[in-house]
Symmetry: C2
Subunit: 340 residues, 2 copies
């Protein structure tokens, strides 16, 4: 089967976004940031999915998407901790409804109630709720809740450890994923996302996080940011900084998805990164929705690029399925429960 | 001939750095930040060059380096405008001495006296001095003088225009090059450099700068950051944002160097980027100084990767020489004056 490890609910019903707009307005006005959530019918949710993600999934020949709230609107920098928590719970509950309606096609990954300057330990409860009560299989961890100002500590700082401890106990990985940018220098999907991917990898390279957490697992999305293209630089920097080879030091714990929107980029990814470290992902319907005039196909139809690779079929199976079942053990358990 | 467009004086005499250390100490103590510069003999300078850049240039078979002050120690975020100006003038004067000693091997590019929050118009005088008095052919423009906090406006903001006007009049390009990072999230050469390259490109994509300055030229170093690896993403984003195709919108004015430290990365660069937009560069002696155990050669011996490309010899000549003479017209004039 073919599992897309990277999908966001970018097509959520309008009422969901209306609630958020009202919430942020209420925050500014000193009002209630945890107001009642609107009634959204199952049919409305089905409609947004069937005409978008599900349609494209079928057209492109994939079977399942690891599904999380829209990344760009997590917006941890908006409001305060209470705003973030109330919004995050609504977003995760909505994902749970999608999974409930399409249990063989979607599996949940949660947003976290991060907020600039607030200890990450405050996000543990929502992780637990999503994993143990809602049946989610992982989380999206924002390395920069300030939205492009990077005011917090690096991911290797001990400040993050309480969260990593719970991740390890629950045996769930995190996708390192920033949200929107409130810094005019950084376009969200064109700069901030890719920079964050590159930054996270370099933090892992500099640090010793995986010595302390040998079972901790991160997916760095968007093909690992700039890292595979500069793989020689990173191997050389590891050497200059006296770190062990990347294969031992970082790549037992870090995985890249295939959200790279052209064939040459995917070719490079597979040429330099071990196939066991690559998970199929498309991030559709997402940052880049158009059709590539050079190919006549959607930029984000990343399955085509992998299909075109001259690699053994067994390797493709690992990228499409096996690696995801290994990196997300709770996904594997769910699939086995479904007889898959 | 073979022109390396990207070299910094990373091996400057110790007295130069001692002066800087004293200067920053003086700033903190409220003392003189423009103290007398130590006497450094020609032999000392010759020595630092002959055993490093010149030796490697000869060993690797290149002829000339476009040479500028060490990027990581520009440190525009340290001190204030007066500190930056005094340091910048010393750095540029030192480059001029190298060029004077090796006029057929080095040509100067200047650092600018940028400082966070200070208008870029204050850097015009030093650009003029370096170009018209010292014979330099371009400048390094720091898109983030705050050193990793990104507190200034994007490169497409009108705040930068006074500088671009003078660049255009002088007919000199700028390499977009950040300096050291004072943000713990960003390792300088492993994250901040690459992120800045990616960020600058996306700013150009979002903006309309080159409609207003059709003759303005930028070199984005380190192989264009993450951009070639994500070329499909950028083509798709241009489309989504309603911008013209990148070839017209950005790539008449933007060039990438070849500071990508492994063969697969260089292969990708040449596969997706027009050969007219690629300038040979190595940034040696720089960020990555070791030997790649996979090849037995220095990571930053980028000429080897280009030599290995299966592209027409005429294309290699453009990357090694022709494009540089076109992007830096003052280099072309100097070379012609030398009968080259």
């Amino acid at each position: 089967m073919i599992i897309d490890c990277h999908g966001h609910y970018t097509t959520a019903p309008g009422a969901h976004d209306v609630w958020r707009t009202a919430q942020t307005a209420a925050f500014k006005a000193g009002g209630d940031v945890n107001a009642a959530y609107p009634s959204i019918s199952d049919d409305e949710i089905r409609d947004t999915i069937e005409h978008n993600q599900l349609r494209l999934l079928r057209e492109r020949g994939a079977d399942m998407t690891v599904f999380s709230p829209r990344a760009s609107t997590m917006a941890h920098h908006v409001g305060n901790e209470a705003v973030s928590l109330a919004w995050t719970r609504r977003c995760n509950d909505l994902i749970k409804r999608v999974v409930g309606l399409f249990p063989r096609t979607f599996v949940g990954v949660c947003q976290l109630p991060q907020s600039p300057g607030i200890p990450i330990s405050h996000s543990v409860a929502e992780l637990e709720r999503c994993v143990t009560e809602l049946g989610f299989i992982g989380c999206n961890l924002n390395p920069d809740p300030s939205g492009g100002h990077w005011t917090g500590p690096p991911l290797t700082d001990r400040a993050w450890y309480p969260f990593y401890e719970r991740m390890t106990e629950l045996d769930v990985p995190a996708m390192v994923h920033v949200s929107g940018s409130c810094n005019a220098n950084f376009h969200a999907t064109g700069a901030h996302y890719i920079n964050a991917d590159t930054t996270a990898f370099m933090q892992f390279l500099q640090g010793d996080l995986f010595r302390n957490f040998p079972a901790l697992r991160f997916i760095i999305p968007h093909g690992g940011g700039a890292v595979p293209y500069h793989w020689g630089r990173y191997r050389g920097l590891a050497d200059m900084l006296g770190r062990p080879p990347l294969r031992e030091h970082v790549m037992r714990n870090v995985f890249f998805d295939t959200c790279v929107y052209h064939q040459p980029g995917i070719d490079l990814l597979f040429r330099v990164i071990d196939v066991d470290n690559i998970l199929f992902g498309s991030e559709m319907v997402g940052a880049v929705r158009g059709i590539d005039p050079e190919t006549g196909h959607h930029f984000d139809d990343t399955k085509r690029y992998i299909d075109a690779l001259a690699i053994p079929e067994a390797d493709k199976r690992r990228v499409f399925e096996g690696n995801a079942r290994r990196v997300y053990p709770r996904l594997d358990a769910i699939l086995k429960g479904q007889g898959r």
